[in-house]
């Protein structure tokens, strides 16, 4: 997979249409302002060609053009990892329960692959439509520091990369849900409870 790609096909199509429109508008009645618009149009075309937008790069958006699942054209990929100070089999057993998997969508969750203590893969479907798929890998942390859990999640966002970028900026993205899921699991496994403040007093009215 090309690491640099962060635009989906739908985004690139939009960039081509938008970029061409700006260039045509600039050429119809040339002026300094319109020349600037033309330059922006050229930049959009260039991004459509490379499949990469520099503004999205710091947000960590990555596109997988060839997902390992049939009938899915391309996906956004998220990877997160966490180290949990508990034995590998115990950590695996926690996520073996479907309600503990990171639910970034509301569809039916099927566990598609399990290797005891090592790997767990699932997918979420609504009817015949794939909503997301993901996998957790478990390995011993070096130096007897517990278990490293590596999570990978792929999905097709509404609104393409732009929609995904907006979701990340607003803090409501699947990436955030995945990271929160991992942190919450660590807290439960290590301390027996998840940290919370909901239900505490405030002076808000």
């Amino acid at each position: 997979m090309q690491r640099k790609r962060n635009l989906m096909r739908s985004d690139r199509l939009g960039y081509v249409v938008g970029g061409m429109a700006l260039i045509v508008w600039a050429l119809r009645r040339p002026s300094v302002a319109r020349a600037g618009a033309g330059a922006v149009g050229g930049w959009l075309l260039y991004q459509a060609y490379t499949g990469s937008n520099p503004i999205f790069r710091p947000l960590g958006i990555r596109v997988n053009p060839q997902p390992a699942v049939p009938d899915v054209a391309e996906t956004i990929v998220i990877e997160e990892a966490i180290t949990i100070s508990r034995p590998r089999l115990e950590v695996y057993a926690f996520w073996r329960r479907p309600e503990h998997l990171p639910a970034i969508t509301e569809g039916e969750i099927d566990i598609t692959r399990t290797t005891e203590g090592e790997q767990l893969a699932w997918r979420a479907m609504r009817g015949a439509h794939m909503l997301h798929f993901g996998a957790l890998e478990f390995r011993d942390a070096p130096g007897a520091r517990g278990t490293i859990v590596a999570a990978r999640l792929e999905y097709q966002p509404a609104g393409g990369s732009l929609g995904e970028a907006l979701a990340r900026v607003s803090g409501r993205s699947p990436q955030r849900l995945l990271a929160d899921n991992l942190r919450r699991a660590r807290a439960i496994l290590e301390t027996g409870e998840a940290p919370t403040t909901s239900g505490q007093p405030t002076g808000r009215r």
Binding site: S85, G146, A179, E190, Q200, P201, T202, R204
Partner: protein, 390 residues
């Protein structure tokens, strides 16, 4: 119950709010008998810390009586008198196991906010913004204490509240600041800021064997306490150049270690650098004013240590990296791992080796908190430390 609520910059109010309840099995509820305003609360009061929400209950220095316990807490009993450490720490995670309690990985439910700003998240802290968990604080009649089986320490009835209250934050903070200096026999330690933490850092540096401590401030009452109570040499930075004074006092070499007990709202007297930082901070081009930190780095002897106890929140400007690198300086810092120090410091208090209550300048009722915050911020009436009782 009554509680001190943050509403806006320079706007705190005492309001009636619901009483806290047990939310997790390892929680306890404490009836607060004494609480203090911390110098770091002034950063919240001044609006310098992001992530405060209208109505947040303030306060991270408090003690009291256990009135309710979650099912998971077995080492405490209702009626126990406890001091609560300000870092909320689980005791189980990688960092807690290494006694770095203020870096607890599990106690901040808003870890992603802190990660965006700081890379990784430290622990949650009572009443210290939603960045650090949004936990309701202890400037109230009652407080909820998470992981009550790890944090609170029981204190003997013989010791009054005023002698043990500061185990919650500033005494361990002063102690860790001094410990981070790696004091060797014969060392001279310079301390920027003679507020409560600075004064206790001076006392702890002496306990740990410093031959001489030089205290830097501009408020006469604070310099007087440093000189007469603790026997420190003093430098009034509104009267003389700190760098020159320190050079002279240390025979041209500089202090072996420097403690920054000031932090992000440092003040300097009629200095261009200070005006520059004020302006950049006002324009939101810089979140913190590092006047004391810069000066501490420049003043420290080559190969020495700068111990940072003052709180910083974001980014600073004009950081003297050249001095740091070329002169082999070490910076040590961190929110205090209070749980690591409480027991040993309680023992020292019991033995009479240290009595931190000498810094208390004002005893007030919780209801007077807004006036207390204003007075503490403006350093009116020789205010050094305010203790509030509900």
């Amino acid at each position: 119950m009554r509680a001190v609520c943050w509403h806006d910059k320079l706007d705190v109010r005492v309001e009636s709010v619901p009483e806290p309840r047990i939310l997790n099995p390892r929680d306890a509820i404490v009836r607060v008998t004494a609480t203090a305003i911390c110098g770091s609360d002034l950063h919240l009061y001044g609006g310098f810390v992001p992530g405060m929400v209208k109505g947040d209950i303030l306060g991270h220095e408090f003690m009291g009586e256990v009135v309710e316990l979650g099912a998971g807490v077995r080492n405490l009993a209702v009626g126990d008198r406890v001091v609560v450490p300000f870092p909320i720490a689980c005791g189980n995670c990688f960092f807690c196991q290494k006694a770095m309690f203020s870096l607890c990985e599990n106690s901040n439910p808003n870890a992603d906010m802190a990660e965006k700003l700081w890379g990784y998240s430290p622990c949650g802290i009572y009443g210290y913004s939603h960045l650090l968990g949004g936990y309701a604080g202890g400037q109230a009649e009652y407080a909820r204490v998470p992981y009550a089986d790890v944090g609170p320490i029981k204190v003997p009835e013989a010791l009054p509240d005023e002698q043990v209250l500061f185990l919650s934050d500033i005494l361990p903070t002063g102690y860790m600041a001094a410990e981070n200096c790696g004091i060797q026999p014969g060392d001279t330690i310079a301390v920027w800021g003679c507020g409560p933490v600075g004064l206790l850092a001076i006392a702890c540096a002496q306990l740990l064997g410093a031959a001489r401590v030089i205290a830097i401030d501009r408020f006469a009452e604070r310099l007087r306490l440093a000189a007469t109570r603790l026997g420190a040499d003093t430098v009034d930075y509104s009267e003389e150049s700190v760098l020159e004074a320190l050079k002279e006092l240390t025979g041209g070499r500089g202090p072996d270690a420097c403690i920054d007990a000031v932090g992000m709202e440092a003040h300097a007297h009629h200095s261009f650098a200070y005006a520059y930082d004020r302006m950049k901070q006002a324009m939101m081009l810089e979140s913190d004013r590092p006047v004391a930190l810069r000066e501490a780095i420049m003043a420290c002897r080559s190969g020495g240590t700068i111990s940072v106890a003052g709180v910083y929140g974001g980014l600073i400007d004009k950081f003297p990296a050249g001095a740091l690198m070329n002169r082999s300086l070490t910076i040590r810092t961190g929110q205090t791992h209070v749980q690591r120090y409480m027991r040993q410091l309680l023992t020292r208090i019991e033995k009479g080796e240290i009595d931190p209550s000498f810094i208390i300048s004002h005893r007030m009722k919780l209801e007077q908190a807004p006036a207390a915050y204003r007075m503490f911020r403006d350093k009116q009436d020789d205010c050094v430390k305010v203790v509030l009782t509900p």
